[in-house]
């Protein structure tokens, strides 16, 4: 209960571990600050509660000598904050900016209130006769990078794969790319994470990650 990191769902993606790593650094750092501040506060409340015959000290805290007691911890906060950003930047880039080459690209279009999934078919191009459409299901092979092109028919939806630590809004009028690489076969929930109308609650797809051979079999079946 007390270790927040244990509440994250199972991770099934390559960069998921990196995202969890950033969350973990923040968790441990903030935990230390939590104990330091609460501990100091608690100690002061006990030590300096009102007692007859003992007056408060007239400390203004304005001179540098006094203010330093606070400025030093504040400087530590600053340094830690910047370090956090420094550690986080490559993870952000990995998920959101880099595009590893992917054999499989899938188009996912959000609409009130389903995810329309389209595979390009054997010709590898969208908008042709051999495109394969699905509603609320996405099939991918394990251990292969998959590119997703997100679109929307109406309002803003959000493509969220909790087990992959991936989230990306789908905005009408834009084609937004995302990518992931699954590390474990399984069936994973894909909820919509942006309020999109009365059907927002319960709007979700499922991602099916297949072992290689199973995926090839599934793909072949779709072609026939």
């Amino acid at each position: 209960m007390l270790n927040w990191l244990r509440w994250l769902p199972e991770n099934a993606s390559t960069y998921g571990a990196d995202v969890d790593g950033v969350i973990a650094i923040i968790w441990y750092t903030t935990l230390v600050w939590f104990f330091l501040t609460f501990g100091t506060l608690g100690a002061f409340l006990v030590l300096y509660r009102r007692r007859p015959g003992r007056a408060a000290a007239h400390v203004r805290g304005e001179r540098l000598r006094e203010a330093a007691w606070i400025l030093v911890p504040v400087a530590v906060v600053l340094v830690l904050d910047l370090w956090l950003d420094f550690r986080g930047a490559p993870v952000w880039a990995k998920v959101k900016i880099e595009r590893p080459p992917a054999e499989l690209t899938v188009q996912v279009t959000g609409r009130q209130f389903n995810w329309e999934v389209v595979y390009p078919g054997a010709d590898g191009r969208f908008g042709t006769a051999d495109d394969k459409p699905f509603i609320d299901e996405l099939h991918v092979p394990v251990n292969r990078p998959v590119r997703v092109v997100l679109k929307s028919r109406d309002v803003i939806h959000s493509f969220f794969l909790p087990n992959f630590r991936l989230k990306q809004d789908a905005v009408p009028g834009r084609d937004i790319e995302g990518w992931f690489q699954a590390t474990k076969p399984g069936k994973y929930e894909l909820p919509c994470a942006m309020l999109c109308g009365f059907g927002h609650s319960g709007m979700k797809a499922y991602l099916y990650v297949h072992p290689e051979a199973e995926y090839d079999a599934w793909a072949a079946e779709q072609r026939s």
């Binding site: 995202v19 923040i26 300096y48 000290a57 805290g61 930047a89 809004d169 309020l195």
Partner: protein, 572 residues
Amino acid sequence: MITASLVHAPSHADTGFWSTYVFSTDHKTIGKQYLGLGVLWTVVGGLLAGGMRWQLAWPDTALPVVGEIGPEVFNMMVTMHGTIMVFFVAMPILLGAFGNFLIPLMIGARDMIFPRLNMLSVWTFTVASVVMLSSFFVPGGAASAGWTGYPPLSARPEYTGVHWGLNLWILGLALEFASFLMGGVNYLTTAIALRAPGMTFFRMPLVVWQQLVASTLFLLSVGPLIAGAVMLLLDRTLGTAFYASDLGGDPLLWQHLFWFFGHPEVYVVLLPALGFVLEVLPVFSRKPIFGYRWIIWATLVAGALSFIVWAHHMFISGMDPRLAMPFSVTTILISVPFAYIVFAMIATLWRGSISFDVPMLWALGFLTMFIVGGLTGIFNGSAPADIYINNTYFVVAHFHYTLFSAVVFGGFAGLYFWFPKMFGRMLGRPLGHLHFWLTLVFFNVTFFPQHHLGLAGMVRRVANPLQYDALVPLQWLNVLSTWGAFGLLAAQAALVANVVWSVRAGARAPGNPWDANTLEWSAASPPPHLNWGPSAPMVYRGPYDYSVPGARADWHSQDAGPGRTSALGARS
């Protein structure tokens, strides 16, 4: 030296009921009017929250009295709860009520510099309230696109099924903005122009500084949202193209305009509460606030920074991903001035003489809960972490820890502290203690589990958590949170009882029940019309001369002349 003009202060008998209580230009009455309206809206916003929490804990059970809540109604409740709490509870109480009541008193003025503009501002807010309330009763119901109102959901009525409700929502907000713009202009001009002789800027209490910075932030940030709201209304009514990608527009434009305002807005709400706590801590530790000037600079830095962090609400929005890291850096930087202020609050207690009166309990409650909220802000401000936690309950937990700290813990610190000055009676201590401890416990029971729900992947604004496989085994967290919410709402009965009893039969408040230094405590409780009687205060020192070595008392009023601790009784 300028002396205040000698004016015969009209009594209530002279001016009649309507101009004394309804069409008053007295800043103290106007402050109470804002307080009353804010309290009425708190009931509405609180009931909406109770209803939402019931639905989340027991999605398949109809609510008592109200009946079944369908997803459209749930979305409407979510939307209006947020809108009401931010714009119709937090701002009127923290800024409108306390700002109005305190600023002239604390700077030694007789009233705001524009009393009639002040009256216009509270009446505009009243009209805004009527408009917003009416949106519940029109066909199609009230707005349901979230308090953030993202288009295209909010821009085309067919996407929500809400027609007039959303238009009225926009109009109600526009009127609320106008009201607080008027108020802000009044506060800023009054504080600059009407300070009593000797009241330099750096002798003004931190309460006043925080109100002024908050007003400035609002004044400068709301413009782009007004522009955006006009655009939204036109998209809805005239079919303009601003947020419609098929006509050349862009839904993300709204998000930029909204959050450019939205982020400074959270500090508009926070800063007044910070001010109350920064006032209460010295009084009940009998020590100066630690680092008065540094706190002012930190506040100004935080205010300035608040204008360049807005896109941390938009990391996942589809904006250019290269913008994420710059905004992540500015966001994480804004924690620095607030860290200073939190540390300074703790340092104020060091070597103090601390008494745990009820206002002090609330101030300490603010400090502890705000630390938790501030720490979870670090998670949200980191772009890669936010990929996962954006739009989950983790964000909900974060902003409730910070906003609730401000509005409830900070607001009650202010209320219990200044109640004697405002109403001339002391609030009862036992009920005050009960109110505080129940609120603290139930607040944590309600919102702490929401961190866990968010980390487990529960998304925001869903009416039925049981629709998600991952959440079914965690439903006990939702139930726990709901019981916490019911307890939290019920606990407020202690305040109601206390106020009702005290206003009638409570001990009459002396001028300065807390032995505090700031000028309002030199006026009667409550102060008469025009505040000061025939002669306005002269200010001789800053507000933090507590426990000065060798002084006659452990406090020293700002307007006490040579050889006196207090000016009470010296002027009549």
